[in-house]
Each structure stands twice: as structure tokens, then as C-alpha cells.
Subunit: 191 residues, 2 copies
Amino acid sequence: MENIINHFEKYLPLNDEEKQALMSRVTERKIKRRQFLLQEGDVCKYFTYVQSGCFKMYGVDDKGVEHNLVFAAEDDWISDIGSLHKELPSKLFIEAIEPSVVLQISKGDLWYLYSNHPKFDRNFRVIMEDKYIELQNRLLQAFSSTALDRYDRFITQYPHLANRLPNTQIASYLGVTPEFLSKIKNDRFKK
Amino acid sequence: MENIINHFEKYLPLNDEEKQALMSRVTERKIKRRQFLLQEGDVCKYFTYVQSGCFKMYGVDDKGVEHNLVFAAEDDWISDIGSLHKELPSKLFIEAIEPSVVLQISKGDLWYLYSNHPKFDRNFRVIMEDKYIELQNRLLQAFSSTALDRYDRFITQYPHLANRLPNTQIASYLGVTPEFLSKIKNDRFKK
DNA sequence: CTTTACCCTTAAACTATATTAAGGGTATTT
DNA sequence: AAATACCCTTAATATAGTTTAAGGGTAAAG
């Protein structure tokens, strides 16, 4: 629980009352590798703080191929924000890549925190903004012409993930096959 | 000015005081074709409501190629939200594709509206959410395997834009060359 | 109303990436 | 500790998309 408090205090210090409110509205869950936080067709119910471990959020295309949109490791948030807010079925999956521990806040509890403790309003707004910016950068990166460029950007932007994720997952994030990523890495190394 | 009031009243009715506040905080500008609302390296200063006309927001890659991230036509919003909120230089351009009329709200006026008229707080939050969802769908679409798929999705999702934008702009949005888009359209027609 | 700038198309040659297949290696799970 | 499932690599063949070039058409600007 201390992690999430530290997380918020990066932006603004919390008083005891706020810490209390936060801790009472948050549910800790242990998640196994390959377990889902969200499956396509379900409505996303939680805003999830990753305390330890790692998740991927992805869509599956007509041919059954997975496309990783984002990763979230410790001290990050993950959620299908569209589905959570509009209460519409999600087109996405959120799945644990590693055994993980998360803290979840339901939409109702989120609203409770917003209306009773305005500081969270601001805090969650900043988180939302950060997520928006992350997505926009992701989109820009997705258009970087070559897969080699995209890979270079990925490892400079997420060095902690590059060493940790299987290449299959990185390939899916970059939008190439694992075979081609293998070739890219080999070519890169030779230079 | 009536357009923007109607726009907000789709979500929640506004009283006279709120309408007054909104209208006094908004600046109308006429924008010529090819004129910029934002250029790479500048900090984005405004949240822009498009009253008439059409804009594109795009990034330029190392090779000088433009990549359209989003379009915004009448009754839509456009802004580099990351740059606006963090006050950091943008990586993007926002440029008029058609002669346009916009209503702009500065960051300061936005904050004024938030704190003095809580209804706008909710209204702009919904707009933000919608923009986030749009971006997420865009990312999902960008990963649809073939360019033909992406084109099909584009014309079903934005039929009003498909007939209105030059194919060069649509090609840039889809992530293909205009020559290849031309081929796609030809192949599609033959079927 | 004329000129310029932009836009669309076609086609041939080229390149980045996918697909298929196969073998060996390394984690998880039982 | 064994078995299974997963992961990485290489290489040959296949394909989606790019590049270059060239011609004609249409809309914007002086």
C-alpha cells in the first residue's frame, strides 16, 4: 500500500485523512501470469495500479493476431479508460505477463474520492493527461517508417521493459512478426 | 457562437450566466487554408473548437514525411493536449485544410471556467475522454493488418471526411503513399 | 482569366516485411 | 525430474507497399 501513497505524493502530499480514504477504497489482488484483468466484450470495471509485475493491453484483429497497445509495469496504471467511463464493452484484453500484485479502484470509489477529496481530482487528472500523452507518442512512434526505428525508440524509451519482456511481446508492440524482430536485432548487432 | 453552446448543451443545459461566461472567454478567429494553429517546437496555447472548415494534426518524421494523426471538422475540438497541459514544446503541427472559423479558449480561461462554473469541469472532462477514446481507436485501426482494411474502416467511420479530403491527406492518415491508396481504391472498385 | 500549384492515376522496378517450416533452447508446470 | 509449453533463430519463398517517373486534370491565386 505504501507504493501507491508514494506515487500520489510525487504530485501532492496527502494528509492522514486522504491516505485513509485512499487505502479504504482500494482492493489488493494477486494476479497470476496469463490471468486477465479485462477481456474483450466485458465492461472495464477498475482503474488498476500495478504494484509489482507487468501487464499488456492488446487488441486481437480479424486474423486472430494480437497487437499490444501498451505495457504497464510497477508504479504504473492500466485500464481501458473508454470502456470504464462510458460503460461500454471493451475491444481490448488486459493480461498479466508476469505474476503481479495490483491495487484496484472501482468507478464508484473513484467518484467517491473525487467528490470527497478534491486533491484526488487533480491527481487523477494528471494521470489521465499522462496516459493521453503516452498514447499520442505511441501513435507517433507507430508511424516511424521502419521497424528498426521503432525498435530503437522502444529500447531507449522503455529500457527496463526491453530486457524483461519476451521478444514476441515486443514484436507485437512494434507491429512486426517475432521472426522479423529477430532479424532486426541481428542486423543491429552486426553494425 | 451558437454552435458551441449547442455543442455543450448536448451534454448538459447551460444557464444564462454560464453561456455568458463561455462566450466572454472564447475568441473567434478566421483561418485561411494552409494556415497553422500550431507548429512543431511551439507550446500549444489553446483548446480549439472548429466552427466551420477542417484541420489536420500531424507529425513529420526524419525523412520529412507527414503523418496525419487526426482530423477535426465542424463541431469538433483540436489541440495538442499534452503540450497545452504540460507547457512543453509540441512535436506536432495543426494546419487548416480548408478555410475555417474557430473558437479558441486559452489554458488560463479554461481554468477560469473550471473553477467558477463546475459544469464546464464535467463538460470538458467528457470531451477529454472522447478524445482519448478516439486516439485509442485510431491506434487499434493503425494496427489493422492491411491498408485496404484501414481504408474501409476510415470511410465507414468518417464518411463525411472521405468525400471531402484530398486523397493525399487520407493516404497520410492511413500510413500509405498516395500512389498505393490510388491502387487500393481502384482494386476496391473492380470488386 | 490565366498561371501556377496541387492532385490523381498508372506502371515498372525495388524493398521491407510476412509466411512457412524446421531445429534447438529455456522456462513453467506437473 | 520429467514433460510440456513457450521462445528464439535462420532461411527460403511470397507479398504488401514504396519509389521513381511521367502525363493529364483540377482547383487556387494573382
